[in-house]
């Protein structure tokens, strides 16, 4: 059962995993300290009893007014054991960065870029940290609760295409 996974995590990482709970519908969930999420994920992937070979979904939520304000949610699955866990990481607004899990599962690549784009959460260790859906000149992060539904953006001056590979964009962009 998936609850055994959470129990194993609590035993292995007593200082990093806290507040385990059973979500609606019987999902096994727990909170993880921000700085330890990569260690926990690496353990879940490499331990043969866990065998979490896939990270199907990573997303973020903006709980405006709460402290810490943001949360990154990891839904992980083990296809061989048919286990599913949901790990939640609280991210304070003052320190908007969570270790990237893209080096562990490459499938998390665009999900993390999406969180960067939409919520402005940084993922140190990500191989290609750029905006995913919005353009580079976009000001702000559209899915934050304090971004208005009909927000207006400044007009961008037309630029010379100086580098065909990277496309039009601010000169000197890395």
């Amino acid at each position: 059962m998936s609850k055994a996974v959470i129990a194993a995590l609590l035993e292995r990482f007593p200082d990093a995993v806290y507040q385990p709970y059973v979500g609606v519908g019987g999902d096994a969930c727990a909170f993880v300290q921000k700085d330890r999420i990569a260690d926990v994920c690496r353990f879940l992937r490499d331990d043969p009893a866990m065998d979490f070979k896939m990270a199907p979904y990573v997303t973020a939520v903006d709980y405006l007014g709460a402290n810490p304000r943001f949360e990154v949610v990891y839904n992980l699955v083990s296809t061989s054991k048919n286990h599913r866990v949901r790990l939640r990481v609280k991210v304070p607004e003052a320190e908007l960065s969570v270790p990237s899990i893209t080096p562990i599962w490459r499938g998390a690549d665009w999900f993390e870029r999406y969180c960067l784009d939409m919520y402005g959460i940084q993922f140190p260790g990500h191989p290609d940290p750029r905006r995913l859906l919005m353009y580079d000149e976009f000001v702000g992060h559209p899915l934050r609760k304090d971004y208005p539904l009909k927000g207006r953006q400044p007009i961008i001056p037309e630029r010379e295409i100086d580098d065909l590979f990277r496309g039009p964009g601010p000169a000197g962009r890395s």
């Binding site: 609606v24 939520v61 690549d109 590979f165």
Partner: protein
């Protein structure tokens, strides 16, 4: 550029051809890029040295839009995610909200949802096969596939009133029951679809050109497929027998008898064959559904989440008020969060819903099945031929509507 380690060419004929890398922009508007996706490929001769995908041209703020409307008003937005199989998106979203509400739906509604989903699964796979055939030069296949698909879309029009944007589900059930004699019509259509399916397979599966272009191209191993976050037919083509309809059955899938096809090589040909085999299995599921479906209610009778019956709305003041409250304020979904997942045509379709107890979603996270698969394309195509990009892009089945939200 190839490095030449020979000191001196023996003759001018042995001298290396001077070559230069070329950067080629495919898209955003390119016939082989479904929707508007921009692929920047750096070529050395015909092989891809490096590739980058640029998406977002079709982004329309799905999550932000849903956060500003009531729960039931989200259904039309979900239609437009994977527009080829809209009912499956409806079902995925409805199940997520019902999971949060802990709402049981009537049995007939479950059967109707499965029927709608499986018809749309057939449509989705037919579209993929048709488009794949067309882009590899087999125009006939496309016409056959579209004929079969339109036949089923006509049946769906009779069921829910629209060909593409069905908005068929409601929280607690489905919008309407199937019309009189509809099951017989669907079975007749399925017979014709089966004929066309075998004809298409006959045209493609032993076709020299098709085999050469798909076999051994776009290979994804089982380990890679898992790491990339593949799901659905593409994951199974790589040899991982993982199907959510079997692994964690939802609705009434545990009462149906069907097989999960699994591939061996993980190449484009296997991904194509998965689709053909799943068409056969969906056909089988549908025929069983029509035998097993029983009479009953099509929507739950929970006044907190479901609109009152129309006679009550037009006949009593309480009914009018109840109707008004639900339409104007939205249903009050209990505060909390849930992640619900279903097996859509391309794989795991997940919705992460967060409610603050109000009438609108606080957060509606979408896990589109094509998303991680599209993201993995540059890794798969590295060092491969440019011509292989086309069948790989097809068989991954990137749908702009769901990937770019």
């Amino acid at each position: 550029m190839q490095s030449n380690d020979r000191q001196m060419p023996a003759s001018d004929l042995d001298a290396p051809m001077p070559s230069k890398r070329m950067v080629l922009n495919m898209g955003p508007s390119h016939p082989a890029m479904h929707g508007v996706t921009r692929a920047v490929v750096e070529l050395d001769g015909e092989s891809i040295v490096q590739m980058k995908l640029d998406i977002g041209f079709l982004h329309r703020g799905f999550e932000k839009s849903c956060e500003s409307v009531t729960w039931n008003q989200c259904f039309p937005y979900t239609d437009r995610l994977n527009y080829v199989s809209a009912i499956m998106n409806n079902v995925g979203f409805a199940l997520a909200v019902e999971k949060l509400c802990q709402l049981e739906i009537p049995e007939r509604a479950s059967w109707l949802r499965v029927i709608g989903s499986e018809v749309h699964r057939i449509c989705d796979h037919l579209t993929l096969i048709g488009a794949m055939g067309m882009e590899l030069g087999a125009m006939t296949v496309f016409l056959y596939a579209i004929e079969a698909r339109d036949l089923l879309w006509d049946r769906l029009t009779e069921l829910c009133g629209a060909r593409l944007t069905s908005s068929y589900c409601r929280i607690g059930g489905v919008a309407r029951d199937m019309p009189e004699g509809w099951d017989q019509k669907v079975i007749q259509s399925l017979d014709r679809v089966a004929e066309l399916r075998e004809e298409i397979n006959g045209l493609l599966a032993r076709n020299r050109i098709f085999m050469d272009r798909t076999q051994g191209t776009g290979v994804v191993t089982r380990e890679q497929a898992l790491e990339f976050g593949f799901a659905g037919p593409c994951l199974r083509a790589s040899g991982e027998p993982w199907d959510l309809r079997k692994a964690s059955p939802y609705l009434v899938y545990d009462r149906l008898d069907f097989d999960i096809p699994v591939g061996a090589n993980g190449d484009n040909f296997d991904r194509y064959m998965m689709r053909i085999e799943e068409l056969r299995q969906s056909d089988r599921i549908l025929r069983q559904c029509f035998q097993k479906i029983g009479p009953g209610e099509i929507i739950a009778s929970d006044p907190r989440y479901v609109l009152p019956p129309k006679p009550e709305v037009y006949g009593t003041i309480e009914g009018v008020m109840h109707h008004f409250k639900i339409v104007m304020e939205g249903i009050k979904v209990p505060a909390g969060e849930a992640y619900s997942y279903t097996e859509a045509a391309n794989g795991e379709l997940g919705f992460y819903v967060v409610s603050d107890g109000g009438g609108r979603p606080y957060k509606l996270g979408l896990r589109a099945p094509g998303w991680p698969m599209t993201a993995s394309l540059p890794h798969i195509m590295k060092g491969k031929l440019l011509a292989d990009l086309i069948p790989t892009f097809d068989s991954i089945n990137m749908i702009g509507g769901e990937v770019e939200q």
